[in-house]
Amino acid sequence: MLYREAGQFKSSYAEDQQIFPIRQDRIAIGLLLVVAFVVVPLFGNQYWLGAIITPFLIFALAALGLNILTGYAGQLSLGTAAFMAVGAFMAYNFVLRLPWIGVIPAFILAGLCAAAVGIVFGLPSLRIKGFYLAVATLACQFFVLWALQRVPWFTNYSSTGVVTAQQISLLGFAFDSPERKYLFTLAVVAVMALLAKNLMRSETGRAFMAVRDMDVAAAVVGIPMMKTKLLAFAISSFYCGVAGALYAYTYLGTVEPEAFTLDLSFRILFMVIIGGVGSVLGSFLGAAFITLFPIFLNLASGWLSHSFGMDISHAVVSNLELMIFGGLIIFFLIVEPNGLARLWQIAKEKLRLWPFPH
């Protein structure tokens, strides 16, 4: 009854083409933004903001980046963490060496560097497909990490290879507390998510999807293969690069190349798969699930050992966590291979008819 678009007539082209065509969706998004920007920083505590919600947003951005490449353009990549590493370390270098350009341009430049790396390692996609390409993107993962560890310029000749992200400030406003860092992250993620949502209904986005569904057919109807595939790699790596810069500046604080291992790439791929391939909302749902689930498991095991008086050793807990995590991934893939976003879609369909299904 509440969620029904009946009676919402479009009387101009602008109305017909808005991003969220249903009024209830617009209200929901507006409310969500108000909650995220006002209510959460007011009532969230420091631990939640700094250790859970901020990384969730950052991972959601990275997952969105991978989703553009894998979900929309259909090119499987296992090098996400490498693009994040490029973003993080280039942002560090831009802020360090060109302090006068400000933090936003530095992040954008870092993202562009990641995009350039993405284009270079996206070149094989013109020739190879599927798992061959996925394994080939591993080359990017290993090479970038190696380069960051071996070329001292990237870490400003730090002897340990660890760099400390500088204090960031915008127009004299320093982002120093978890609340402020959260707000900065949220603003960046919100803007980029909106851009992604918009991109996917443009000509470029439709070209991506045509390539995903069948690239030979897409080429036949005149979609330039090289431009589309490389653009997908570039945009995806840009998103991942900015996510990496945020990861360094608003979450970790101190970064080393080892923070961006293959494990991180896989985690982000999990977010995309569990959230929903080819869905902006899915990236957020998947990121929320993967960030919150280990915390939940930890709490559950702590609660179990507390209430039953069992003394479970730390090694057993971490191994059990690993098993449950793996098992849950398999379970999810079997039960809902289209991810959490699909569940939301089903819920919406149901909501349309509710409470009078006939």
Binding site: R127, Y132, L138, I273, G326, I329
Partner: protein
């Protein structure tokens, strides 16, 4: 012979033999990909699981052959369970979903093996010492480990057995039929699910062999799971569907990697073995997108 030439031969042969060890792991990938189109990321975890089970049984004072037999049985059961629990419900899903499921399976296996057997590293001794062959080092001053030769023989034997199994036996023919076309195979009455169970069981056996060989070389420890990452470039070069390709690819990767590490590595600060094989494979793919022996796919609209 001049010392440089001897050194080069030593490096080259060492690389070729190391490559054979990569192929051992790559074989497991090929088997499963060939028969079911699943890119099985859990192969590394299977290698680790098999080696850890075997070495733990040995340390419980079990007889060598009994331990081997029990581990083999465990791997076969693991293959059957995987087919029943993971693969069967996921039939007809896109390959990426199956791939993700095998990553989940890898996590389960890693957790399970360490939960049962603990996470401390073990040494493994098969009775063949990892020392240079004496008469070679005396006669020509070339140092080649006898264990490497042993591993190469095992790999060669394994490939020969698998080749015969695939070419000559009834089950092997059924496997090839399934690999060619699932639907056509079903239509002529080949039970798809039995075939998959057999393939996973055979892959478990290959994982056991690879785990034993690698366990002797590096010790049985968690790092064994990363061996799978070493095998991936081998697959790229050899092609995902070819058993001989896995061997040839392993030789190419092993040799180029070792030679590059020795002659080119010091120029850029070392540590290039983490990515060099991938870049070689990548360059190779630009020329041959399906690898050396992979099946050419013709796209139809």
């Amino acid at each position: 012979m001049p010392i440089e030439v001897i050194f080069f031969i030593e490096v080259l042969v060492g690389g070729l033999l190391a490559g054979v060890m990569y192929s051992l792991v790559a074989l497991g990938f090929v088997l499963i990909y060939k028969a079911s189109g699943v890119f099985n990321f859990a192969q590394g975890a299977m290698v680790f699981f098999a080696a850890l089970t075997f070495v733990s049984l040995l340390e419980m004072q079990w007889n060598f052959w009994l331990a081997l037999l029990v581990t083999l049985a465990v791997m076969v059961v693991l293959g059957l369970v995987t087919e029943r629990v993971v693969l069967r419900p996921l039939t007809n899903q896109p390959p990426i979903t199956l791939f993700m499921a095998t990553i989940g399976l890898a996590f389960v296996l890693e957790g399970l093996s360490q939960l049962i057997w603990g996470s401390q590293p073990h040494g493994l001794d098969l009775g063949i010492a990892d020392v240079p062959i004496e008469w070679l080092s005396q006669r020509w001053n070339v140092n080649i480990s006898q264990f490497d030769i042993f591993a190469a023989c095992i790999a060669g034997l394994l490939v020969a057995v698998l080749a015969v199994f695939f070419q000559k036996t009834r089950i092997g023919r059924a496997l090839r039929a399934v690999a060619d076309d699932h639907q056509a195979a079903l239509a002529v009455g080949i039970p798809l699910q039995h075939i998959w169970a057999i393939v996973w069981a055979v892959a478990g056996f290959v994982a056991l062999v690879a785990g034993l060989i690698w366990g002797v070389r590096n010790g049985v420890q968690f790092a064994l799971t990363f061996v799978a990452l070493k095998a991936l470039p081998v697959l790229l070069i050899g092609g995902f569907e070819s058993i001989p390709g896995a061997i040839i690819g392993g030789l190419i990767i092993g040799a180029t990697e070792k030679v590059a590490e020795v002659y080119f590595g010091p120029m850029v600060g070392g540590g290039i073995e983490s990515w060099f094989a991938y870049v070689v494979a990548l360059l190779f793919l630009l020329v041959r997108p399906e690898g050396l022996f992979g099946e050419k796919h013709i796209d139809r609209v």
